[in-house]
Amino acid sequence: MPNSILKVENLKKSFQIAGGLFQKKQYVNAVIDVSFEIEEGTTFSLVGESGCGKSTTGRLITRLIAPTNGSIVVDGKEVATAKPSELRHLRQTVQMIFQDPYASLNPRMKVKELVGEPLEIHTKLSKVEREKLVLEMLEVVGLNAEHADRYAHEFSGGQRQRLGIARALITKPKLIIADEPVSALDVSIQSQILNLLKQLQQEYKISYLFISHDLSVVEHISHYIGVMYLGSIVEIGRKETIFNEPKHPYTQALIASVPIADPTLRKKKIVLTGDIPNPKNPPSGCTFHTRCPFASDICKQAIPEMRKINEEQSVACHFVN
């Protein structure tokens, strides 16, 4: 049994959206109940549409925000309840790559400072030693030494994302949380970055938590997938089973909605009617029942439990056995 690098159980986060001295307090549940596990050297993807809580889950795991409830075990250590001062280990083990390579790099810093910043925070290396490591890392991500003295805005989108990857990689983390790392990039550049991420995984045995709305990208990069809808995982399992035999009606609709770059495969879609409900005011029972073509009375009343339907797949739906 391979080691688990991350184990998340019953994670919950609610944000206060209104209220105060004279008002009734109001909360929105961004993450309702999320549990999953990532094995060493594998990629687990969270997919879902906007407002499903996938990015919040990522930020909870890095403890940029504190969870309301639940447990997060990173590399054997519980971090959900740790105080900010006790998070040193977490910050070294887990690094993040952000969606927008333009915004996540400080425009006032040179590349060698940007990429070397985690070293400055976590190690006692001298400036010279840090720069040496930065140059090595630039080579690894396909840039070169002459780029070290430039500012981030002098690079193209794809190159900036390479810088983001170099920065995440430099402390040799075991887990990288990549929040929509390629969705701001052009297709031809996107594939360069995806190939790089895969290659780095093989070289350094890193695990990825890959957060994305793009199913084609997710299918390419993942080993395991969790499909989220309105704050909960509705289906989870091995990539192949999720894509070949999706069981939850939402997963089915999601996969069918993806336009395929092949006109001979045009088909009548299962077009989901209606909008994604507002998380401030989620539907009762199964949150998907307002859009589900198979919904019946029980779906409006009872929240379906996550059930393991075979070795590789679990689904939260009343009608899947």
Binding site: L64, P118, I121, G142
Partner: protein, 298 residues
């Protein structure tokens, strides 16, 4: 098309000359003619303030009872005052006092206000509330009245003028920096730094403070003008520099009895104050056009 990603020959657009923020700044500041002239004026003024005692044609404190209240002439460029002292020499030596008072008051206000503003904007919550409500209290007094009250409390004297002017500068700086901090905090790279494990001090110093600098520079120049006016005002009221000092406000004050007969005694220091304040405001305006991100993006 199939090539491993590592052998990317990813070239940065090499056409661009090496990017230097300072060079960019100078390129656009050059176009602000009024601000450029004003900067030259202030530059000269600073030089004069430093070497003033050595270049002054007369001793600024030495009375000459043979030349009382003389108008401007070749021997006395700005005329003489009621004790026959050379007004030009007194202005030159007084530049040092005026600049020193305003610079140090604004500088101290800047440091204190920036620290408070950064803390207030970054941490938010009750810390923010306490700092901002205290600032509101100070804001509710008119600037000069507040300064007068402080000097009245501490006693007259140049040092207390500095403290008074500083205290009424702090809330403006704090509020400005707080606003800039709130904006800067939204940058994804701030979140990135936090996710790397950067300490609060590091995030504030390396990632947020630099975002506030351009607004601070603009505000400091504007504020120095106000400080000169306030310091002169306090001296004019007899709360600042002692009466024999060649401070510009004092000169205005002691000359006002002769306004009807020898108006140059008041006009000359008046012009000095006017030009200096104007110059600082012009520089501030020019810097705003160059540095302010809201204007720059248009």
């Amino acid at each position: 098309m199939t090539s491993p990603t590592t052998v990317q020959n990813s070239q940065v657009q090499n056409t661009q000359r090496k990017y230097s923020p300072l060079k960019e700044f100078w390129k656009s500041f050059k176009k602000q003619k009024a601000a450029l002239v004003a900067s030259i004026f202030i530059g000269l003024l600073i030089v004069i303030a430093i070497i003033g005692p050595y270049i002054a044609p007369y001793d600024p404190f030495e009375p000459n009872y043979n030349a009382l209240l003389e108008g401007p002439s070749a021997s006395h460029l700005a005329g003489t005052d009621e004790y026959g002292r050379d007004i030009f020499s007194r202005l030159i030596v007084g530049a040092k006092i005026s600049l020193m008072v305003s610079f140090s008051a604004v500088f101290l206000g800047l440091i204190l206000g920036t620290i408070l503003g950064l803390i207030s904007g970054y941490f938010g919550g009750w810390v923010d509330k306490i700092i901002m409500r205290s600032c509101d209290v100070l804001f509710s007094f008119p600037d000069l009245l507040l300064a007068i009250a402080i000097v009245a409390l501490l006693g007259p004297g140049i040092n207390n003028v500095i403290i008074a002017v500083m205290i009424f500068s702090v809330p403006s700086f704090a509020r400005l920096v707080r606003g800039a901090t709130l904006n800067a905090k939204e940058n994804v790279y701030v979140e990135a730094a936090q996710s790397m494990g950067a300490s609060h001090v590091r995030v504030l110093w390396k990632h947020i403070f630099p975002e506030t600098i351009s607004e601070l520079i603009i505000f400091v120049t504007m504020r120095i003008g106000t400080a000169i006016l306030a310091a002169s005002g306090l001296s004019f009221l007899g709360l600042g520099a002692s009466p024999e000092m060649p401070e510009w406000g004092v000169m205005l004050s002691s000359g006002r009895d002769y306004l009807g007969t020898s108006s140059h005694v008041v006009i000359m220091p008046g012009i000095a104050i006017f030009l200096t304040v104007l110059a600082f405001n012009l520089i501030g305006d020019g810097l705003r056009d160059v540095l302010d991100p809201k204007i720059k993006n248009n």
